[in-house]
C-alpha cells in the first residue's frame, strides 16, 4: 500500500526516461550536426552540397545493412553473417547476370531478394527453432556462406565489363541532382521504419526483444517473430548486396567482408540496444551516416588511417555507454533491482 507515495517521492525519473527514449535518434542527429560543424570548421571542403552528397552515398548501402542488423538486434539477437550474406548474394547475382546476357531488371532484383531471404531463413531456423545462441549460429553461417562463395567462384571475379551496362548506369543515375542510390536507400529505410512502426509484426519485434517472458504471457510466438526477423534481415542483405555489386562494379569473393561489424557498429551508434527492445532502423541508418561522416571528414583532414579505427572503436564504446545510462534510468524508475 505504499507505491503511490513512494513513486511520488521520486518525481522526474519517469519524465527523464521518456524524454531520453524519445530523443535517442534526435541525440544521434545532434551528434551528427556537431560532428559536421566540427569538420566544417576544420576544413571548408566538408560542408559543400557535393561533399555531403558524397557522404550520403557512402552511407547509403551501409544504412541498409545496418537496418537489417537493427531488426535482428531489436529482438535481442544478433547477425554476424550480414557481410557474408551480402557477398554470396552479390556474387551469385552478378554471376547469373554475366552468364545470362538477356537478363531483365526484374530478374536482377528478384534473384538477390530470393537468395537473401533463403539465407536469412537458414539463420532464423538455427536461432529461433534450433535455439542456437545467435552469435554462434551466425558465426557459423558467416563462414559457411563466405566459404560457399569462394568455392562457387573458383577464383574468378565478375568484372564490370561482364555485367549488363544498365545495371551499373542505373545506380549512377540522379534524380533532381541526388544520386538514385541515396534515394533508394532512404526509401528502403523509410519503408522498413514504417513497417516496424505501424504494423503489428513490427510491434511484435519490439515486444519480444523488450521482455521475452512478458511476450510469453501475452501469447506471442517468440520463435516465429525471431525467425521472421532473420528472414527480413536476409532480405535486406539481398538488397544491400545487389546495390553494392552495382556500385563497385567488380564483384569479388571478398565483397562486403567485415560488414557484419560495420553494420553492428552503425546500429549501436544509432542507439539500437544490443539488449533488445529499443532503437529504430532510422537510428541505425543515422549510425551509418555517422561512420561515413567520420571516414570522409578524416580523409578531408588528412588524419592518418589508423586514427579512424581508434575513433570508430571509441565511438562504439561511447554509444554503448550512453545506452547503458538510459537502461539504468529505466531500471531506477521501474524500481527494478540491481544485482
Amino acid at each position: 500500500m505504499s507505491e503511490a507515495p513512494s513513486v511520488a517521492a521520486r518525481p522526474g525519473s519517469r519524465n527523464l526516461v521518456e524524454v531520453v527514449l524519445r530523443l535517442r535518434e534526435a541525440g544521434v542527429v545532434v551528434f551528427l550536426v556537431v560532428l559536421g560543424l566540427a569538420f566544417g570548421l576544420a576544413t571548408d571542403r566538408f560542408l559543400s552540397v557535393q561533399n555531403l552528397t558524397t557522404v550520403a552515398s557512402s552511407a547509403a548501402i551501409l544504412a541498409i545493412a545496418a537496418c537489417a542488423q537493427a531488426i535482428v538486434l531489436i529482438t535481442r539477437n544478433l547477425d554476424v553473417s550480414v557481410g557474408s550474406m551480402m557477398g554470396l548474394v552479390a556474387y551469385l547475382t552478378a554471376d547469373w547476370a554475366a552468364t545470362h546476357p538477356g537478363i531483365t531488371p526484374v530478374e536482377v532484383v528478384a534473384i538477390p531478394l530470393m537468395i537473401g531471404t533463403v539465407l536469412g531463413a537458414i539463420n532464423g531456423l538455427l536461432v529461433a527453432y534450433g535455439r542456437v545462441p545467435a552469435l554462434i549460429a551466425t558465426l557459423g553461417t558467416m563462414s559457411l556462406y563466405r566459404g560457399f562463395t569462394y568455392i562457387y567462384a573458383h577464383g574468378q571475379e565478375v568484372t564490370s565489363s561482364r555485367l549488363p551496362p544498365w545495371m551499373l548506369s542505373s545506380v549512377d543515375a540522379r534524380i533532381g541532382g541526388l544520386p538514385i542510390l541515396i534515394l533508394v536507400s532512404i526509401a528502403i529505410v523509410a519503408v522498413v521504419a514504417w513497417l516496424l512502426h505501424a504494423y503489428p509484426f513490427g510491434r511484435r519485434l519490439y515486444a519480444v526483444g523488450s521482455n521475452g517472458v512478458a511476450a510469453w504471457f501475452f501469447g506471442l510466438r517468440a520463435e516465429r517473430v525471431v525467425f521472421f526477423a532473420y528472414v527480413a534481415c536476409g532480405f535486406l542483405c539481398g538488397i544491400a548486396g545487389l546495390l553494392y555489386a552495382a556500385r563497385v562494379g567488380t564483384v569479388t569473393v571478398v565483397l562486403a567482408n567485415g560488414w557484419e561489424m560495420s553494420s553492428l557498429a552503425s546500429a549501436v551508434i544509432g542507439g539500437v540496444s544490443v539488449s533488445g527492445g529499443s532503437g529504430t532502423v532510422v537510428g541505425a541508418a543515422l549510425g551509418a551516416v555517422v561512420l561515413a561522416t567520420i571516414d570522409n571528414g578524416l580523409v578531408l583532414l588528412r588524419v592518418p588511417e589508423f586514427w579512424r579505427m581508434f575513433i570508430q572503436g571509441a565511438a562504439i564504446v561511447a554509444a554503448v555507454a550512453v545506452d547503458a545510462l538510459i537502461a539504468e534510468a529505466i531500471r531506477r524508475s521501474t524500481g527494478g533491482r540491481r544485482r
Binding site: R45, G155, T159, R247, T250, V254, N296
Partner: protein, 312 residues
C-alpha cells in the same frame, strides 16, 4: 657429388591468398611451366591474406618435403623463419610478386623493379593527363612494402625527372585491397582535392574501383584513374572512354617464369647470382640483380586499342 636430377621435381606454390584472379593466373602459369618441364606443382593457400595462415601453409609444405617452394609473401619477415627451416632441409625457395626477407629465399622473381613499376604507372598517368596536375595514391596498407616503395619513388620522380615534373603528389590513402573501401576513398579524395587529376593505385583491387567511382560520381574527363589492374577488370572503362590507360604485367607469365626459375635452379642450370641470366625460351631472358633478384620486368600498358588483346 651425386648425379644431378634434371626433371620430376615436386614444387609447391602458395599465393598471398587464393580466390583472387591475379594469383590464380600466376598459379596457372606456374602449373604450365611445371607440366612442360616434367615437374609436379601443387598450388594451395588460405582464403584470406593472414600471415599466420600462410606460415601454417608453408609449414605443411615443408613437412611434405618438396624440392621447391614458390610463394608471394604477405609479411616477408614473418614467413622468414619457416622459409629458413625449409632451406636448411635443402628446399629451394623462390618468391614472386612480394618478396620475403633475403635470408629466407634463394631468389625473388620480381615482376617489375620498384622503379620500373613507378615509371610505368606515371607513364600511364601521362597518357591520361599529358598536361599533368595533382595526383593522389591509393595503396593497400602502410604495411605493404611494394606499394610504399612505389609511392615513394613516384613522389621522388615527380620532383626530379623533367618528364614527370608536371605532376604534384597531394595525398595518400589506404584501402586495404577492399573494393568498397577503395571506392569510398576515391570519392573522398575527389572531394578533398578539387583540382585532383589522377588517382594512381598499385593495388589491382583499388584501381578498377577508383575508375568506377569516377564514372559513378560524374567526374569522367576531369579525374582519371590509373595504376595496376587486370585488363578484364578495367576493359569496360577503357572501352566506354571514361578511362585512357592502365598498366600491369602478365601474371600468367610471371608465374610461369617463377616456376621456371626454381626448376632451373634445382636442375643446376641457373644460379641466381648478380649478373646471371635466366633463359626462359617462351618468355625471354631475365637478368639477375643484387640479392638474387631476378627481374621479370615486362610492364604492359593497356589502352582502348590494346586491351582487347589480353584475355586475363
Amino acid at each position: 657429388l651425386a648425379q644431378q636430377k634434371t626433371s620430376g621435381f615436386k614444387l609447391m606454390m602458395t599465393p598471398k591468398w587464393t580466390g583472387f584472379p591475379y594469383f590464380e593466373l600466376t598459379g596457372e602459369g606456374a602449373k604450365a611451366a611445371a607440366t612442360e618441364l616434367g615437374d609436379t606443382l601443387i598450388y594451395a593457400g588460405a582464403d584470406h591474406a593472414e600471415v599466420s595462415l600462410q606460415v601454417e601453409t608453408l609449414q605443411n609444405f615443408v613437412t611434405q618435403k618438396p624440392d621447391g617452394i614458390i610463394l608471394a609473401a604477405i609479411d616477408g619477415n614473418a614467413v622468414a623463419p619457416v622459409l629458413k627451416q625449409a632451406r636448411a632441409k635443402g628446399i629451394v625457395v623462390g618468391t614472386y610478386d612480394a618478396d620475403a626477407a633475403v635470408a629466407g629465399r634463394d631468389m625473388f622473381v620480381n615482376q617489375l623493379s620498384y622503379e620500373q613499376a613507378a615509371r610505368v604507372m606515371l607513364d600511364a598517368a601521362l597518357i591520361d593527363a599529358p598536361e599533368g596536375g595533382e595526383i593522389a595514391f591509393i595503396a593497400a596498407s602502410p604495411t605493404s612494402p611494394n606499394h610504399v616503395a612505389h609511392m615513394k619513388i613516384m613522389t621522388e620522380l615527380s620532383k626530379t625527372e623533367a618528364k614527370y615534373k608536371v605532376f604534384s603528389v597531394v595525398d595518400t590513402q589506404y584501402a586495404g585491397d577492399d573494393d568498397a573501401k577503395s571506392y569510398d576513398v576515391a570519392v573522398n579524395l575527389m572531394q578533398a582535392h578539387p583540382k585532383l587529376k589522377v588517382i594512381i593505385s598499385s593495388s589491382a583491387v583499388s584501381a578498377p574501383a577508383a575508375a568506377r567511382a569516377i564514372e559513378a560520381t560524374g567526374h569522367v574527363g576531369k579525374v582519371w584513374a590509373t595504376g595496376f589492374a587486370l585488363p578484364s577488370a578495367i576493359k569496360r572503362y577503357l572501352e566506354n572512354g571514361s578511362q585512357k590507360a592502365f598498366a600491369f604485367w602478365d601474371p600468367w607469365e610471371l608465374g610461369y617464369v617463377a616456376a621456371y626459375a626454381v626448376h632451373q635452379k634445382l636442375a643446376g642450370k641457373f644460379d641466381p647470382k648478380e649478373g646471371a641470366v635466366l633463359d626462359v625460351p617462351k618468355a625471354g631472358k631475365f637478368k639477375t640483380f643484387k640479392d638474387a633478384e631476378v627481374v621479370y620486368g615486362k610492364p604492359l600498358i593497356f589502352t582502348k586499342e590494346t586491351v582487347g588483346k589480353y584475355n586475363f
